[in-house]
């Protein structure tokens, strides 16, 4: 109730609309949006550049006084907006940045779209460049940036061309190293496009901010063009080095465009502080692709092998996560099988199996991926004039981005990839290619054996000590580790009963149930709806996990949090079984910021029961959104113990394990 009060919503500069509501103005909301009838408000609210920037950007001085008045007494009529009721005021605070050009990137996006409606590639490419400069990255890397901006700001548009010419001269010398990387990666086309672009540059009007951005962009183009001319003579090796640097700085970056930007950022540094900059970058987690960031998604799409069509009606809160129409990709991919030159068939096969859901579960997916990589490494040969370490890392990266397109990586896979890449990067230089390949393959084997298979055995050994005769053990979903624990305890002759709790739509519990019953365990099967009923007779809850995060939060199949909370309320100990290689140093407080969306159709339809498919033709209705989350986050308060290959530890000790053994895990 409290947060709904108008006073609070007015004070709050960032409006996060929580809940499920339509992206277009919903009928009952129409009266609350009189200020911006033309644009659809939630989209502008959720646009990442507008909303997720630091609050420093938000309050314009003129408006701050308004909020002060509102703070002083929100019942008092506000002189600036007399006709507006109190609740839309918050919308007006959102609108201000756009109007007052506090949000340059958005403004620019609009400008570009209006000015070059035909040149689509240019439109998609440019906002990214400028946004990055707006976010301060570029400005910090170019020391003269601030002054330069100011200068351009004073210039009128007649002189703009001259300035760009002059400034391009100054920047060329700095950026010249960049060009090989760019020309190699993006091909000549983009640069050529940019090359001939200045001719059809239109005179700029109205806004100074637009002029600024425009000038900056043109100077960059000129610099690139000049650099390209230089690079045609220059050595090719430097390009390889530059791209290699970029990759090392951001190893798991999915998009090649981002790599370019990284090379811009790193190469523009002088040699001295490049190292420290790289280190700093390593510390900062690289941003995940946010799927409500339209321009980046567009770019990512262009490179994508798997053509995914995005689902129409997505839940507002989860727009930053990818959601595609399911069932459309497979035929396309199959038809492409012989065209996909760079993709190794083993990787391709694994990717397709992820896509269809053949392989699921953290361990299975991780093992399948590692084995595919093993195959790929076996068949790998270093191209001429390249080094194995760098080229293979690039190869693996491309495989990984293909796998991400098929299905977002699990955290276990992410850790395994990190391991593999660090092994490649740390290969001794004097090894021959075949030796290096053999070493890598045996490393992967060791990882699978020690970190996954052996770890499971240790977990089973520990967990079995917590099962007593007469226990009733509850599990949720299907976890391979938990299954092994039950089977082993049964082999030891312990007498216990298992309650398998399951949920739609995957019904993975049935598979587990089948295997347990076949082995002669006595089982009870129920759905999650009945968990609060069944819990009072349960003595232990065993859960699997996709990952355990640094604050002890357990990231697992959706529904796990519910089971853990019910168990906690009934004072039943909750034991989470998770191999240490799945631990992650990230901290997550909710299930929103990072998650995976499944096929929404599966929750709308019940297969084989036509008579209750009430939502048959509704899935494309505008004001219906379906949310099929795959994971959720269980707070550490509800977890009694985490059983891992380092023994049984409380959730508060996860950071210790991450801290002490992360290094060892990477080096194995």
């Amino acid at each position: 109730m409290e947060p709904r009060r108008p006073g609070r919503t007015v004070i709050d500069p960032k409006v996060r609309q929580v809940g499920f509501f339509a992206p277009a103005a919903a009928p009952e909301r129409t009266q609350s949006t009189p200020i911006e009838p033309s644009s659809s408000p939630p989209v502008s609210d959720m646009s990442p550049s507008g909303n997720s920037l630091s609050p420093v950007m938000i309050p314009p001085p003129r408006h701050a006084s308004d909020t002060h008045i509102l703070l002083a007494g929100n019942s008092r009529p506000v002189p600036h907006f007399p006709p507006v009721p109190s609740s839309p005021l918050r919308r007006s605070t959102d609108a201000v940045p756009v109007v007052g050009s506090y949000n340059p990137s958005d403004a620019f996006k609009l400008d570009v779209a209006s000015e070059f409606p035909d040149d689509s590639s240019e439109v998609t490419a440019s906002p990214g460049l400028v946004r990055r400069s707006g976010s301060g990255k570029f400005a910090s890397s170019l020391p003269s940036g601030g002054g330069y901006d100011l200068m351009v700001g004073k210039m009128n548009n007649m002189a703009a061309a001259a300035t760009t010419g002059a400034s391009s001269l100054t920047t060329v010398s700095v950026v010249s190293n960049l060009a090989p990387g760019v020309s190699e990666k993006a091909g000549g086309t983009l640069v050529e496009l940019q090359n001939d672009h200045p001719e059809n540059a239109k005179p700029l009007k109205e806004k100074t901010s637009k002029a600024e951005r425009r000038a900056l962009q043109e100077s960059q183009r000129a610099a690139k063009a000049a650099a390209k001319a230089e690079s045609s003579k220059g050595p090719v090796v430097s390009g390889a080095v530059a791209s290699g640097n970029a990759k090392q700085a951001k190893p798991a970056k999915p998009s090649t465009h981002n790599k370019d930007s990284a090379s811009v950022a790193t190469v523009e540094k002088k040699g001295g502080d490049r190292q420290s900059e790289k280190d700093r970058k390593k510390d900062v987690p690289h941003p995940r692709l946010q799927f409500d960031d339209k321009s980046r998604v567009e770019k990512a799409k262009k490179r994508a092998i798997v053509k995914q069509t995005e689902a129409m009606n997505r839940v507002e809160l989860f727009r930053h996560l990818p959601q595609y129409e399911h069932g459309t990709q497979l035929p396309v991919l199959e038809s492409k099988f012989f065209q996909l030159d760079p993709m190794h068939p083993a990787v391709y096969k694994v990717g397709l199996r992820y896509l269809t859901g053949d392989i699921s579960g953290g361990n299975a997916r991780c093992i399948a991926m590692l084995q595919a990589f093993q195959e790929a490494i076996k068949d790998y040969s270093t191209p001429p004039e390249k080094t194995l370490i760098r080229d293979l890392t690039a190869k693996i990266s491309s495989y990984v981005s293909f796998l991400i397109e098929c299905r977002p990586l699990s955290i276990s896979m992410g850790n395994a990839i990190r391991f593999l890449k660090s092994r490649i990067a740390n290969l001794p230089l004097n090894l021959s290619e075949s030796e290096a390949k053999a070493l890598l393959q045996s490393d992967i084997d060791r990882f699978i054996n020690e970190k996954i298979l052996l770890a499971d055995k240790v977990i089973v050994k520990h967990a079995v000590t917590k099962i007593r005769d007469g226990d009733i053990l509850l599990t949720y979903g299907s976890s391979s580790a938990v299954e092994m624990i039950f089977l082993h305890a049964h082999e030891l002759g312990k007498h216990f009963r298992v309650v398998v709790v399951d949920s739609r739509p995957k019904l993975e519990g049935q598979l587990l149930l089948r295997r347990l019953v076949a082995k002669g365990l006595s089982c009870t099967y129920t759905h999650i709806n009945a968990v609060s009923y069944i819990m009072h007779e349960v003595t232990r809850v065993f859960l699997g996990a996709a990952s355990v995060l640094s604050n002890g939060t357990v990231y697992s199949r959706v529904g796990t949090a519910c089971v853990a909370m019910v168990a906690h309320a009934f004072r039943v100990p909750v034991l989470v079984c998770c191999e240490a290689y799945k631990f992650h140093e990230r901290v997550q407080l909710d299930s929103i910021c990072f998650n995976e969306l499944g096929d929404p159709d599966t929750i709308a339809k019940v297969p084989g029961r036509m008579e209750i498919n009430y939502l048959n033709n509704w899935t494309h209705s505008e004001n219906l959104q379906l949310l099929n989350l795959i994971y959720d986050a269980t707070p550490s308060d509800y977890i009694s113990m985490i059983i891992t290959d380092f023994g049984m530890v409380p959730p508060t000790s996860v950071p210790v394990i991450v801290r002490e053994y992360r290094r060892e895990q990477l080096w194995l």
Binding site: K466, R468, L575, M641, G647, V649, P650, T652, V656, E660
Partner: protein, 365 residues
């Protein structure tokens, strides 16, 4: 063969945990039950003695010239020696008498000895923890560090000898670090007889702090009576409560001080029966609960609930005969979960319960 079988059922008197036998002997508490059982123990005793002398007589091929358990029991009789220290001394004598020639051999021998010690009394946590700690130390010491095997061996023995000192020092350190928490005019509730807590309060009294102590009676072995005796000797105002009066007098109490039989991985403690309910009462009245424990009591155990550990049994004297149909709960200790503890005073410093696991991980992995 006989050797193995005697190790499997080594405790001659299964009705009372060996740990509490020692404690009763140390504390001079004699109950009628205890006397009867002591008699019974004597009846069985000679057997095991026979065996150990027999084993000692022939220089066996295993290299075990004597019984580690006897050695342990000898050490244990010294009242000021902690159980873990006795265990380590016993293991040191294993090293001394062993005729192993390699480090690996010695390790295996030690492992066997510690296993038999542990299985001799599964209820004693500090015994288990002490054995584990020493084995850990041995495996971390490689003979390569020293010029030859013999010097490594003597180094290990030296270390084991020192351990008693270390344990004594640990108590001093704990007494020092906990002084800041005792303020003038405070009332401290103490449960059980803990040498560490005694040391803490002794130091506080020597530092001329003015405080009052409430002692619970500590049924069934009346440890509270003994503790109040000690307090009276120090001229500290002390009041005895029956165990069920804890909640009644909790509003007068400023802090609760308890020792620990063992500190487990979750950060909770296993201690004398009644600690859990005192902690619960204190928690609900927002009074801090402080645990004083040496770091060698940290054990790699993780009980999930009260019944999740080997029960240590204790005879209970009700004063009147109990009909045979009536069942008696004879467990001597309980487990207090970490959320009811405020701080742990250890020789590693003042720790929150969650740090225990961190220390254990660093110690054992």
């Amino acid at each position: 063969m006989s050797e193995v079988s005697s190790f499997q059922n080594p405790n001659p008197n299964p009705k009372i945990s060996a740990y509490y036998q020692t404690r009763a002997a140390h504390h001079g508490v004699v109950t009628s039950d205890w006397l009867a059982q002591a008699h019974a123990a004597v009846g069985i005793g000679p057997d095991s003695d026979d065996f150990s002398t027999a084993a000692g007589a022939e220089p066996s091929s295993v290299g075990k010239g004597f019984s580690v358990i006897d050695e342990f029991n000898n050490w244990r009789k010294q009242p000021d020696l902690a159980e873990a220290v006795a265990a380590i001394r016993a293991l040191a004598s294993v090293i001394r008498s062993s005729n192993a020639t390699t480090m690996m051999e010695l390790e295996i021998e030690l492992k066997k000895a510690s296993d038999s010690l542990k299985s001799w009394d599964t209820t004693s946590i500090s015994l288990t923890a002490g054995c584990d700690l020493f084995i850990r130390y041995v495996t971390r010491t490689s003979a390569l560090e020293y010029e030859d095997f013999n010097s490594a061996k003597s180094r290990l023995i030296e270390r084991a000898e020192k351990f008693g000192e270390i344990s004594y020092k640990a108590r001093r350190i704990i007494a020092m670090v906990s002084q800041e928490f005792i303020f003038d005019g405070c009332t401290i509730l103490v449960h059980g007889f803990s040498r560490v807590v005694l040391e803490v309060l002794k130091t506080a009294a020597q530092n001329r702090k003015l405080f009052r102590v409430f002692c619970t009676e500590g049924r069934p072995d009346r440890t509270g009576l003994r503790f109040s005796n000690e307090m009276a000797k120090l001229d500290v105002p002390v009041k005895l409560l029956i165990d069920s009066a804890v909640a009644y007098s909790m509003d007068e109490v400023d802090m609760v001080f308890v020792g620990a039989d063992g500190v487990v991985e979750s950060g909770g403690v296993i201690n004398m029966m009644g600690t859990y309910q005192i902690a619960l009462v204190a928690h609900s009245m927002n009074k801090p609960v402080y645990v004083a424990a040496e770091s060698y009591k940290f054990a790699r155990l993780y009980p999930l609930d009260q019944k999740d550990m080997a029960p240590a049994l204790l005879p209970i004297d009700f004063g009147v005969p109990i009909p045979s149909k009536v069942e008696v709960e004879r467990s001597a200790r309980d487990y207090t979960p970490p959320q009811y503890l405020t701080l742990l005073f250890t020789d590693l410093g003042v720790l929150t319960p969650s740090v225990v696991s961190d220390e254990l991980i660093q110690l054992y992995l």
